[in-house]
């Protein structure tokens, strides 16, 4: 009997969880991004704030993910990539991504996805061509993976809101964090 594919695991986890309309998430997120654009003068700062927010979400979301998907620790970075694309994306956003463009040293990959619930009914304001609208996703991935002892860099390289043909996030493994032994007293 073969193990269920990651796609199946993702779909099952998504079917089991409590859900809300993608519209509600998109509207909430979009209104928040617009608020940030008013609060910060530089678009780069908005991108940074979205990443920070994502990171704060990621360190908690990873526990929800592990508990509900029952996925055990991944034994390779490649497996981690597949789990993010097929299980995590599906479980939280209802869409799946594809893993492509591995670097030669196998430490960097791209997540490609066409559908992005965060960006539904959204158009980029003309004065913000440098905005990575869904940058929160980069923060989420970064925060989640750090809790799994992987220090990664995570950036958008293509975004449909900017006129690209698809959405692409590039994830790069910087460092594997070793578990620290407990500190001795005195």
């Amino acid at each position: 009997m073969s193990r269920p594919s990651l796609q199946t695991v993702g779909e099952a986890a998504f079917a089991r969880c409590d859900r809300v309309s993608a519209e509600l998430l998109a509207l909430t997120y979009g209104t928040f991004v617009r608020q940030l654009l008013l609060d910060y003068e530089k678009v780069a700062d908005v991108n940074a704030q979205l990443d920070a927010v994502g990171c704060n979400i990621g360190v908690r979301l990873v526990e929800d993910f592990l508990a509900k998907s029952k996925i055990a620790a991944c034994n390779s970075f490649a497996h981690t990539a597949d789990v993010i694309a097929k299980v995590a994306f599906k479980m939280f956003l209802g869409v799946t991504a594809n893993v492509t463009s591995w670097s030669a040293d196998r430490n960097t990959f791209s997540l490609l996805f066409d559908d992005n619930p965060l960006a539904e009914f959204t158009e980029l304001p003309e004065q913000c061509p440098d905005l990575w609208y869904s940058n929160v996703l980069c923060g989420v991935i970064r925060g989640a993976l750090e809790m799994l002892n992987m220090k990664v860099g995570c950036t958008f390289v293509r975004c449909k809101l900017r006129g690209h043909d698809t959405n692409e996030i590039r994830v790069s493994l910087h460092e594997l964090l070793a578990e620290q032994p407990p500190q001795a007293d005195d």
Partner: protein, 141 residues
């Protein structure tokens, strides 16, 4: 069969939660006890994995003595759930219940509690009462 106490540690060794139902030897110093427990678990786990023929496996799920059993579950994020029970619970699959505590108590009432600061001691009544009622509902209680 009886359940004595519960510990929850995060990956830094902080004891996020200690709950007691029935502990015959009174604690002199709770903080000391928790440090010792974490230290012992850390060493035991690493030793156990070293012995394992498969380096990706070998994490202990329980050990049993003539008076008590210790049940252990750890998450990939370094959370460690420990339940100390009477020794006749040694053969019961309590680890499965620890994963339920992770999913249904910790994630629902700590992680999803926006007031809870991750990494700090969990002293929320709702969390503790859910933990208590879950453990009391177990057949080994």
């Amino acid at each position: 069969m009886a359940v004595y106490c519960f510990y929850l540690f995060d990956r830094t060794g902080t004891c996020l939660c200690y709950y007691e139902w029935n502990r015959s030897r009174s604690l002199q110093d709770a903080s000391d006890d928790q440090k010792n427990m974490f230290g012992m678990l850390f060493a035991l786990r690493n030793f156990s994995v070293k012995l394992s023929p498969d380096p990706a496996k070998g994490v202990p799920t329980f050990f049993v003595t003539d008076v008590y059993a210790l049940h252990y579950f750890e998450t990939p994020t370094g959370l460690r759930f420990v339940l100390i029970t009477s020794h006749d619970c040694g053969s019961v699959d309590v680890t499965r219940h620890l994963t339920d505590i992770y999913a249904e108590v910790y994630v629902e009432y700590a992680i999803k509690n926006p007031l809870y600061v991750k990494g700090s001691k969990i002293d929320y009544e709702l969390f503790l009462s859910k933990l208590d009622s879950y453990v009391r509902s177990l057949p080994c209680f």
